[in-house]
Point group: C2
Chain length 172, copies 2
DNA sequence: GCAAAATTATCGACCAGTAGGTAGTTATTT
DNA sequence: AAATAACTACCTACTGGTCGATAATTTTGC
């Protein structure tokens, strides 16, 4: 893993625990074994790092999902696959969704970071609409926003109350 | 309004826009017209201020709801009343739910603040369970976590995408 | 094939600004 | 006399960011 990748990974862990202000260049640098000045070589500003982090998070999230039509063709319910990805983030990583946390504080985010968080949710809603459409839902757009809202909310509350059974109850 | 009340009000606005780290004693002091050292007279530490803020927020939130049984007796659907309180926070205040934001970053919060955020959600779930029970729901506890999850999530996404119609679609 | 030039990735030293917090003091009110 | 509510001055720690320097590597021109 390159230093740049290591910096993004370290930043992701910090942000998913406490938001955009929960990481500093010094901390990241220390964790990957370089000096804080060197971080600016890879990311000119903190906003650049945050934006690239959210961008990559979105891409790998969507990549992990696959295409709704293909899932359906393989006999899987794409909504279950989507729910499972959230469950893994909560149970395995024991962390919030990166963009769920950044979205909550989006009013105080640098423009380029906020833009990437918007991209995450727009792409998620597009994917979920296609998924619900494939499932024969009468109103796919409404089902899409309801699905992602429920999952982000249930994740946040389960984290807060430190009890994953709330997530299970909400998604059951 | 006393200085202490003014400080809490100013802090609430900041936190609901960008989380716990989005306010400083200096900023608050400046906004209410005192010096930052004087803020420590009212709140010994930042954690004390944050905890008292979340506590009062919870109390006034619950007070604004009233009792589910009374609402029901007055011909109102308590779930609609609950939804309306979230809608007002989003549309009128144009801000996130204080504890929704703090909950997302609860892993990085001081203990006494996190405790107050937990109290908010525990009390909300109790209220909602009673409300759904009064509505004759077969599984009030499940309906409760689903209701608050959907509302917190829809609020966050509407804020992020800067479009309240997502909240309306999700709650319709 | 090789020297010159450019690029990559790091460093130490430093900057101005801000953070939360403390100590001791001064008025005002009870 | 005591409690309240503010003040000035200061502390240490940390923030994102800049500067010029330094090797190591890669690319380019002859």
């Amino acid at each position: 893993m390159s230093k740049k990748e290591a910096l993004l990974k370290a930043a992701e862990n910090k942000v998913r625990l406490g938001g955009y202000s929960n990481f500093s260049f010094r901390e990241l640098a220390c964790e990957v074994g370089i000096k804080s000045a060197s971080v600016h070589y890879h990311f000119p500003t903190k906003a650049d790092l945050g934006a690239e982090l959210a961008h990559q998070y979105t891409d790998s999230f969507l990549a992990a999902l696959g295409e709704p039509s293909e899932l359906k063709a393989n006999g899987k319910n794409p909504i279950d696959v989507y729910t499972q990805l959230f469950r893994r983030a909560l149970v395995t990583d024991k962390k919030m969704c990166l963009c769920g946390l950044l979205g909550a504080e989006s009013d105080s985010l640098p423009d380029k970071v906020r833009l990437e968080v918007k991209r995450f949710f727009n792409q998620n809603l597009t994917w979920l609409s296609a998924a619900h459409l494939a499932n024969g839902e009468p109103n796919p757009a409404q089902a899409a926003i309801q699905t992602v809202s429920l999952l982000e909310g249930a994740m946040m509350i389960s984290k807060t109350l430190d009890d994953n059974s709330y997530f299970e109850l909400a998604t059951q």
